[in-house]
């Protein structure tokens, strides 16, 4: 696509606050933001636990921590296996009373999930002959939907949504994909709540450690199966090293590609990371579904990474390595570039990147300091709003503008994200979704946005005056053409759909 040739005037600071930093204004929001958009954004950073999702309210009854969520998934899987075995046994009458059959007992039905962990088989019950297909969706689907609901609700309740935007940024930086397997499908939402949200205004090194040892990441990038060749497990079994997690930590999570590490560093780091795994259903290594260190799978001995020797000795070896990588100048540069690209421009101003990198290093990766620096950057307030809202940002902004509000079924929003090419927690690869305007201004994407704007507008029961909505959502900097096109709309629905398609609503 050719370089943007759109007309860009000096952006309105309130629009910058809501669209560049936040999730878009709700109809009454602009009134609250009088005079000091920077101060308003900073106030959001000061609210205690602003990034956290709480379990209050019946809407969140299905939210689980990753450990019970994975246990529920394991239990459902175990039940499926039992059902299958029994169906087989039923097909062979002679086998039904075979010795040992009684021992493989049924556990509570998967339909009763997701609250029943499967630590040990429940007391024996007579096997049911023919397993009937449960009418309830799979437990992973229930969990995914509950997590999606919590995420959308949080987006709708946020005042400006700068901290939510930071959560999405880091969640995409450290992405996992539910397409990987049921463990990730059951725990992707919990992963964001447990490994991203608590640290989004904390230290980068803490987020890094929490992410890399989380079962969702260990499964997504295959480390749970990686075994040190000279470890006890490696010698006993026919398993060995898998370098996927090690490579992506260096390439995507920290240093960045081309920053000087070698294939030898990747392999060495993979050895260091062996043993970081998840406890299985039998609970031999710990609470099933929890993150554990398996000393039996850990490659013994010292290891050299980026020229530094990390002495052998268990879990601390990888922790020390991660701590050093988190502080590496290349990491500061990589993170600074991505943040500036996300919040300022596809080709971020070099000075802005340099300042962010400096703040990152000086404050030992303090992400609150980094967020405050972004707010204070003159470039963030002077650069034209040329980026495109990502699909999630767009859908959130549509909901904030046109409803419905929190506590509504997330099904339609999820379907919109699929159609827009950004299915929730399902990026095409470990580098996450694109953060470039071109990717989201595609022909197909714009056609889908048009369809969505129309569908959203049609669902609003009482639209009011679209011209007033333009003032409430975009404000006085709306272009005369946008104003005119909305004023001329043939219906209120069409007027609202035009507003949701206006460049001022699409760009950020």
């Amino acid at each position: 696509m050719a370089a943007p040739t759109k007309v860009s005037t000096a952006p309105d600071p309130a629009l910058i606050a809501f669209n560049r930093f936040g999730l878009g204004a709700r109809p009454d929001d602009r009134d609250k933001l009088t005079g000091d958009p920077r101060g308003y954004l900073k106030a959001e950073l000061r609210q205690p636990d602003i990034a956290m999702i709480t379990y209050d309210g019946p809407a969140y009854a299905d939210l689980l921590g990753s450990t019970p969520a994975i246990q529920a998934s394991m239990a459902a899987r175990f039940q499926r296996k039992l059902d299958k075995d029994m169906a087989k046994a039923a097909a062979k009458p002679a086998m039904i009373n075979a010795p040992g059959m009684e021992k493989t007992a049924a556990i509570p039905n998967a339909g009763a999930m997701p609250t029943a962990p499967a630590k040990a088989p429940a007391p024996a019950q007579p096997p049911v002959a023919a397993p009937t297909k449960p009418a309830t969706p799979p437990v992973e689907a229930i969990l995914y939907k509950a997590e999606a609901q919590a995420r959308f609700d949080k987006a709708l309740k946020a005042e400006v949504g700068f901290v939510e935007r930071l959560v999405y940024f880091w969640s995409n930086h450290f992405c996992v994909s539910v397409a990987k397997d049921n463990v990730v499908r059951a725990s992707a939402g919990a992963f964001e709540r447990e490994a991203i949200r608590p640290f989004v205004l904390g230290r980068f090194a803490d987020m890094l450690t929490a992410v890399e040892r989380h079962p969702a990441m260990l499964f997504y990038l295959d480390n749970q199966q990686s075994v040190g060749p000279d470890s006890r497990a490696g010698k006993n079994r026919q398993r060995g090293l898998n370098e996927n997690l090690a490579r992506e930590i260096l390439e995507l999570h920290t240093l960045g590609v081309g920053s000087g590490y070698t294939q030898a560093d990747v392999t060495s780091f993979a050895r260091i990371l062996t043993g970081w795994t998840m406890a299985g259903r039998e609970g031999r290594l710990g609470e099933p579904g929890s993150s554990v260190f398996n000393a039996n799978a850990h490659e013994p001995g010292d290891a050299v990474l980026l020229g530094k020797t990390y002495p052998g000795g268990g879990m601390g070896q990888a922790e020390a390595a991660l701590d050093d990588i988190a502080r590496h100048p290349a990491t500061a540069q990589h993170i600074a570039t991505k943040l500036a690209r996300h919040f300022i421009a596809d080709d971020p101003p070099a000075a802005a990147v340099a300042r962010l990198a400096k703040v990152f290093t000086k404050n030992d990766g303090n992400l609150r300091a980094l967020a405050a620096t972004l707010i204070d950057m003159p470039e963030a307030w002077s650069t034209p709003l040329d980026k495109m809202r990502s699909p999630f940002d767009y859908v959130a902004a549509v909901r904030r503008a046109a409803g419905p509000g929190p506590a509504n079924d997330p099904g339609q929003s999820l379907a919109w994200l699929n159609a827009l090419g950004e299915p929730l927690w399902q990026p095409p690869g470990p580098n996450g979704f694109s953060d470039q305007a071109d990717s989201w201004a595609s022909a197909e994407g714009m056609k889908v946005r048009l369809d969505i704007a129309w569908q959203a507008a049609r669902q609003v029961k009482d639209i009011g005056n679209p011209d007033d909505m333009l003032d409430a959502l975009i404000g006085p900097s709306a272009s005369p053409e946008t104003r005119q096109e909305i004023a001329r709309a043939e219906s209120k629905q069409q007027g609202l759909a035009l507003l949701l398609m206006a460049p001022e609503f699409q760009r950020r």
């Binding site: 696509m1 943007p4 040739t5 759109k6 397409a179 295959d222 199966q225 990686s226 075994v227 060749p229 490696g234 398993r239 060995g240 090293l241 898998n242 370098e243 996927n244 490579r247 390439e251 590609v257 294939q263 699929n418 159609a419 827009l420 090419g421 299915p423 399902q426 095409p428 690869g429 580098n431 470039q436 071109d438 990717s439 989201w440 201004a441 595609s442 022909a443 197909e444 994407g445 714009m446 056609k447 889908v448 048009l450 369809d451 704007a453 129309w454 569908q455 053409e481 946008t482 096109e485 001329r488 709309a489 043939e490 069409q494 759909a497 035009l498 398609m501 206006a502 460049p503 699409q506």
Partner: protein, 412 residues
Amino acid sequence: MNLLCETPHPSRRAVLMTGGALFAWAYMPRFARAADNRDPRLIVVVLRGALDGLSAVGPVGDPDYAGLHGDIALSLTGPHAALPLDSFFAVNPAMPVFARLFKANQAAVVHAAATGYRERSHFDGQDVLESGFSGPGHVATGWLNRALENLPAGDRVATLGGLAVGPSTPLVIRGAAPVLGWAPQSLPEPAGDLAARVLNLYRHRDPVLAVALQKGLDADRMALDDQMGAKAMKPKGGLDSAAGMRQAAQGAARLMSADDGPRVAALAFDGWDTHVNEGGATGRLATLLGGLDGAFEEFEKGLGERWKDTAVVAITEFGRTAQINGTVGTDHGTGTVVLLAGGAIKGGRVIADWPGLKPAQLYQQRDLAPTSDVRAVLKGLLADQFGLSAAVLGDKVFPDSAAVKPMANLVA
């Protein structure tokens, strides 16, 4: 060991044996196309995540293959026997359509191929593969778009533009030449003239969005005009599922078979990064290969009588380790396969200067060593199908690649 692996084909063999010296002759422009009633089409399928070429097309005749690829190695015996292509190579049994086309001389394989990229980052590797530059860092335009851009002014293929399938445009076809975007859609159509009004607003305020939306509307109209109608096109899955691949191919073929439809298309299929439990003749990779095979079938069916002039090429950023890893999968590697299909392809051949699989023959003692350049294959196709000269290909389409000669005679 330099084994030339292809079914006997005198002219082809002669060219390969003599090395690069004879390549230049092949590029007489084919501007007599109208006269011979050819109407060439080119479809590029990008397999993102690095396809294990040794599991797609297994060198079952190589004595070291089974040992390296272990439990997932293809074999000519057993319940899921691979489908032999010649005396040395066999294709994964998940690809019966490809095997059939191969027998009908409408499919070919280039083995032990790689781009010029020798690191192992997916994302840089994909950028190199799709941008056509010799190194990473060029993400504005792709080689397929630049090929269109460099056709003679007024050329019909250039005028009709390209087609990008999927919710986002693959880099390979991004650039200045016009590209139509299309993906299966399922949302209700806006009523009235909303689209026209939004377009009018964009034309005044945001020309970039105006162009994008106009193209999106055009593509949708073309796809829906078909007799199969909208109902048949409900999304069945993402482009990392077998059903999704098949459906994407179906839609692309329909758009491309139209007389005034695009002659060039790009599709991207995800999910080939098989680090764990890759599977061989069955399993995860086989499922994906089955999806790709389904896509070949849809292209063949959908293009109908135009299939005879069509070339489909499937490419991936790099291959995977020759030896399976500790988790019955494979890690990022180097050499892999390029799959070619279509009535235009001079098929029935596995084109390979086989490097061997002994430790010293492997690239960095770990990967299938590359002996063919993917760019040579792509250049050959662009030259044969659209008459692009070696000079333009080496300078504009694949910058700084004059040393990589177009592979001759890929097209029948």
